[in-house]
């Protein structure tokens, strides 16, 4: 029996709804997370820029579902302050590209307060942010950027790859007592997967093996997991049996799953839409080059976006994002 299928966007909605029902301290804030603020005839006008929060304000009211001004430092900083006191805020940073105007609150306050205070505070903050190149949003609305956040000690970072992992990871993020940034790829919001109606959690810090294989390990992040799975099918036709790891959690990262896989396959290709320097791709490659060096049989490869901003024109945008062809070609090069 196939269970209920819902799109990624609805999984986001369900996860927040279930946590808001469960815990009155959970609130949601962001620009137009409801929309039409203050206008009685237009409650829930948008439900978020990606319509992922539809219906939340009608269920929970404007005290707990708060439209904000365009003041990311103000309201994300307020979310940090609220998390430092007794709330458990979920706050949207609409496009991850906007982190430039509010990084301080995440980097210097949310991430560090616990350590700076000698462990005497908790920071149950969840940040939902939308990332990735899709649909011609150009250089300031298409970045991945999770590598920046992973660099920062004190933050946790997760990147669900589909509706199922989204619901489980977002619920875990909200229940977590550390600041968790959830990276959501805009390009897969409409994609459906089987998702239980009830709430459930997926552990932060654990990867999933999306496909088993013995010849090469592909590590995918967010929408790249889908690319890896397709590439694996393609490779199977040529007799190459790829294992696909859906990383899911970027910080903490499930080193064991990666290392176990490469110990078996002895080959690694990391597939990452983020730009290549000081990135998740280099991070995973470096891990393996250190901890599984003796097992490796071929150079450790990375398929990433180029070291460029994201271009607008659709032909260029398409060339920018790692795709199945590039992954397949890179894997094949390991045997050449």
């Amino acid at each position: 029996m196939v269970g209920r299928e819902i799109p990624f966007s609805l999984a986001i909605n369900e996860s927040i709804r279930s946590e808001m029902r469960r815990d009155p301290n959970v609130i949601l804030m962001g620009e137009d997370v409801a929309g039409g603020a203050g206008r009685e005839d237009f409650v829930d006008a948008w439900g978020g820029a990606f319509a992922t929060y539809k219906g939340l304000i009608t269920e929970f009211g404007p005290e707990r579902v708060r439209d904000t001004p365009i003041s990311e430092t103000g309201f994300i900083g307020a979310a940090v302050g609220a998390a430092a006191t007794e709330l458990r805020p979920v706050v949207e940073l609409m496009f991850v590209d906007f982190v430039g105007v509010c990084l301080d609150q995440l980097m210097n306050n949310a991430a560090k307060m616990r350590y700076m205070f000698g462990g005497k505070i908790e920071m149950p903050l969840t940040v939902l942010t939308y990332c990735g190149a899709a649909g011609g949003n150009a250089a300031q609305h298409s970045q991945s950027l999770y590598s920046l956040f992973v660099h920062l000690p004190g933050l946790k970072c997760v990147a669900p790859s589909d509706a199922y992992t989204a619901k489980g990871l977002i619920i875990s993020a909200i229940r977590d007592n550390d600041p968790v940034i959830v990276f959501i790829h805009k390009g897969i919001l409409g994609r459906k997967a089987e998702v239980p109606e009830e709430d459930y959690t997926l552990p932060i810090g654990k990867a999933m093996v999306g496909r088993e294989g013995a010849d090469v390990t592909l590590v995918g992040i967010s929408s790249m997991t889908g690319v890896c799975l397709k590439a694996a099918e393609e490779l199977a036709k040529g007799g190459i049996n790829a294992e696909v790891i859906d990383l899911l959690s970027l910080s903490p990262m499930d080193e064991d799953t990666i290392l176990q896989s490469v110990q078996k396959t002895q080959r690694l290709v990391v597939v990452d839409e983020d730009t290549p320097r000081c990135s998740m791709a280099t991070d995973i490659a470096a891990l393996v080059a250190d901890k599984a060096f003796d097992y490796m049989d071929a150079p450790i490869k990375r398929v990433t976006a180029p070291h460029t901003p994201v271009p607008f024109s659709s032909v260029l945008e398409k060339a920018y994002v790692p795709d199945v062809a590039k992954v397949v070609a890179t894997v094949k090069s390991l045997w050449s």
Binding site: A37, F42, S71, D97, V101, A139, P311, F312, S313
Partner: protein
């Protein structure tokens, strides 16, 4: 102050060209043509027209996500702009920028900008260049009501004030930031009153009235050129369409409200006034309209026919030199 005939024609031309461009853009988008998403400024034309009529080519403008109007008013070629929206190699930005980043530095147009509030410091910096080099250039930042809640607004205005920089901060208050009404998000009645926090003049004008905008902008720009420092100019205006090409604005505002503002259309009002007062003959205005139509028609035709960028373009133009 009387406005001379050539200026009246220029104002009309700018407004009509913007309107024609914007409506055609929306039409193309709705028709499923491969154009950029974008934020139409239709309805708000009097602001860029009235302000930019005072600017020389070497004056600077820094714009926003809703930048088509500012670009056209500052002299960027609408043909190159349309090609940009189509992502073509012939676009103003070689197809790399799209709607939110149209620029032409040779025209003093320092770019549309996708980050709300981000252009205010840029315009401030261009004004700093003018000050340090001792020219009489000025710089203009256009931004929305929503942007006035960004930290960058505050920092730029304070900096421009203490350094008496020749920059004019033009707030296009179109009553909404996305689906958020200004009266919810902005804690003060007139955004122009925020000038009080910086000891600079704050002026409110009817942004649907090109005469009014032209006059107030003229004073602010004159003051800036004369070393009198920045002005915050709030233009009350209205956008006719959704926040962006995919937005259904009926979810957050009434049709009556939209109709009300459409009845105060900046182009219609201007036309009626100059014709009624005998300032410009109707035919001349109609000629402007036809020219604009023809120009945009040609722009679309060309944009559709022009080549896409080659794939090598992906990795060029990141740096002037690298490695």
């Amino acid at each position: 102050m009387d406005i001379e005939h050539p200026t009246l024609l220029r104002l009309y031309d700018t407004m009509v060209t913007i309107r024609t461009f914007e409506e055609r853009f929306i039409q193309e988008f709705k028709a499923g043509k491969p154009v950029s998403m974008g934020h139409s400024s239709a309805g708000q034309e009097a602001v860029p027209a009235g302000v930019c009529a005072h600017l020389n080519q070497d004056d600077y403008v820094a714009s926003t996500h809703r930048g088509h109007g500012h670009c056209i008013a500052k002299g960027v070629d609408p043909v190159a702009m349309m090609a940009e929206l189509y992502g073509k190699a012939t676009g103003s930005n070689k197809g790399k920028g799209g709607s939110m980043h149209i620029a032409d530095v040779s025209k003093g147009m320092l770019g549309a900008n996708g980050i709300v509030g981000s252009n205010l410091p840029l315009a401030t910096g261009a004004a700093l260049t003018a000050k340090v080099k001792g020219t009489r250039q000025v710089s203009v930042s256009f931004f929305g009501d929503g942007a006035s809640n960004q930290g960058a607004f505050h920092e730029a205005l304070n900096l421009a004030a203490i350094w008496k920089l020749p920059v004019i901060f033009v707030c296009e208050n179109n009553l909404y930031a996305e689906a958020t009404p200004v009266e919810y998000a902005v804690s003060v009645g007139n955004i122009a009153d925020r000038a009080l926090a910086y000891g600079i003049p704050g002026v409110v004008v009817d942004g649907q009235d090109a005469f009014d905008v032209y006059r107030a902008a003229g004073e602010a720009i004159e003051r800036a050129r004369a070393g009198g420092g920045p002005t915050l100019l709030e233009c009350k205006t209205y956008r006719y369409y959704g926040h962006w090409t995919g937005d259904d604005d009926s979810t957050y505002r009434t049709r009556e409200e939209v109709e009300y503002y459409r009845s105060k259309d900046c182009i219609e009002g201007f036309k009626r006034r100059v014709v009624d007062q005998g300032l410009v003959p109707l035919e001349e205005l109609e000629e402007v309209e036809q020219k604009a139509q023809a120009l945009i028609e040609e722009a679309v035709r060309k944009a559709e026919a022009d080549p896409l960028p080659s794939l090598e373009e992906l990795e060029t133009d990141v740096y002037a030199s690298y490695k």
